[in-house]
Amino acid sequence: MALRGVLPPEVIQLTPNVFTQPFWDAAAEHRLVLPRCTACSAYRFPPAPFCWRCRAQEVEWVQHQGNGAIYSYTVVRHAVIPDVRDALPVIAAVVELPGTDGCRIVGNVVDCEPEDVKVDAPVMLDWYDVRAGTAVPIFRLI
């Protein structure tokens, strides 16, 4: 059954660079991985060439189960581009992942009513297969 609460594939265009490619490669396999500094163990997100805490460059990619809590959100109701009109409303949530130095992932909360979404609500990670080889993180209320 089709997901409710995501944007149509044609408006989702990923343009990874050398720092973000591993994230999207894992996402295509429905795995959430985060870069963690090999020198000081600080997570950094979005992926970046330097550690914000110790300035080291090297990272290891650590898999995270992706469950967390809604830090904040908005319900996008008005289409600023016509291509998304039929998909609205969508809930765009900022989800903080526990144990990651405050890393936050942005994704749609799907298959629910806007009224059911609250700050601090626990959510679980899922994936939206946009097209072959491309998936983006989404969330479901627990």
Binding site: L7, I12, F45, S72, T74, A92, V106
Partner: protein
């Protein structure tokens, strides 16, 4: 030498202001943006009692424009300073600080800060949207960093600031009535101004009947999308005393922000300590330090109002209200002109007069201190103007008469 002697405090003054008419998005055609910039510059120099022959510097922000072509068009005799704050609308008020820095350093004598804007071919309201279907033209292609937020539907600044507003409501009990008070009080100021694009009063019922754009923000929480240009001329305090208007002194200016505020709404990973803020706290601290006065001295505040909740957060970050208490502060009528303790956006702001990326706020600050504002605050001595809560830099300017 004291710290004060080593700053730009009181060493420069704003001496001229000028603007084109303000237009709804796209209505300034067939003028070009650079043509409008030229009109505003000439008007501002004329207001000061100066000419292009006196002009020797440009101080821009928000990606600016090609000063070489404008200088060529206008025949500026000798360009000695042409500089720009990085970032976007955050630099608005700070562009006058940049002009002052150029003057105090001795690099230039008469510097103009300018914003010109034409949203015909593109609009800021969809500035982070993908290109969509073939042939559609909205904005720049998605960036690697944008990939982490755009797929969820965060396609414009309003959708993104809505996330900060929602967090502020959650933490502090701020309500939509508080946002409405910002929108309604600002509109009340615009109604009296011939330059304003929105001159019909706004009622609480109309506010709550308006369509939601991105919860918790409705139509009237969003600024206008406009065309137009505004220019502000700054020179040394000495020279200012011989010009047409009484000098409006630059008491202090600051720009920048915490590195981990960073790209702000386009990454949404700012530390929890100041996520639900305007990003202006470090700017405010440096502004008050340089000025030697604090928020209690401000008679009128021109706070960059792209989205109404961000006015609330600036009231907190500049110390007009404790963090988390801006909602009750506005509910008590404090930001109303003329009787509130701190009239805010007496010109009608970005919300109801015109959105020229914050330069109208500087222009209004100058008019208030000259005593010529349409909605004059009686005896105003100090005016605060701010740049947009935005990615680094945000900025501020404290002026006095």
């Amino acid at each position: 030498m004291t710290v004060t002697e080593n700053t730009l405090k009181d060493k420069t003054a704003v001496v001229g202001i000028g603007a084109t008419p303000y237009y709804r998005r796209g209505q300034s055609l067939p003028q070009t943006p650079l043509e409008m910039a030229g009109k505003a510059v000439i008007a501002a120099l004329d207001d000061a009692g100066l000419t292009v022959d006196d002009l020797d510097g440009f101080a821009l922000y928000s990606m600016g424009f090609d000063t070489s072509l404008l200088a060529q068009w206008l025949g500026v005799p000798d360009v000695k300073f042409t500089a720009m704050l990085t970032g976007g609308g955050g630099g608005a008020a700070g562009s006058v600080g940049l002009a002052s820095a150029g003057i105090v350093s001795g690099m230039a004598d008469v510097v103009v800060s300018v914003m010109t804007l034409q949203q015909a071919a593109s609009r800021f309201g969809a500035s982070f949207a993908p290109r969509g279907k073939p042939g559609a033209t909205y904005s720049a292609p998605p960036s690697p960093e944008g990939n982490f937020i755009q797929p969820a539907g965060l396609h414009g600044p309003g959708q993104m600031f809505a996330v900060l507003a929602m967090r502020h409501m959650h933490l502090y009990g701020t309500t939509r009535e508080h946002f409405a008070e910002v929108a309604i009080s600002t509109r009340a100021n615009a109604v009296r101004r011939p330059t304003a694009l929105m001159r019909e009063p706004l009622t609480l019922d109309q506010y709550f009947d308006a369509r939601m754009i991105s919860d918790p923000l409705c139509l009237f929480d969003f600024c206008l999308e406009c065309d137009g240009a505004v220019a502000v001329v700054t020179t040394s305090a000495e020279r200012a005393r011989d010009l047409r208007h009484p000098p409006v002194y630059v008491v202090a200016s600051a720009h920048g922000g915490h590195g981990r505020w960073g790209q702000a709404i386009t990454w949404l990973g700012m530390p929890d300590e100041y996520f639900a803020s305007s990003g202006h706290r470090p700017i405010a601290q440096r502004l008050w330090e340089m000025a030697g006065v604090g928020p209690e001295s401000v008679d009128v505040a021109l706070l960059y109002d792209h989205f109404s909740p961000m006015v609330l957060m600036q009231l907190e970050d500049y110390g007009f209200a404790p963090v988390g208490e801006s909602g009750p502060f506005v509910a008590d009528g404090n930001i109303r002109w003329p009787n509130g303790s701190l009239p805010v956006n007496t010109h009608g702001g970005n919300l109801s007069e015109a959105y020229i990326i914050g330069m109208t706020h500087v222009k209004e600050a100058v008019e208030q201190l000259r005593g010529t504002a349409v909605n004059q605050v009686d005896g105003a001595q100090f005016a605060l103007a701010t740049g947009g809560p935005a990615s680094i830099p945000t900025s501020a300017l404290l002026l006095r008469r």
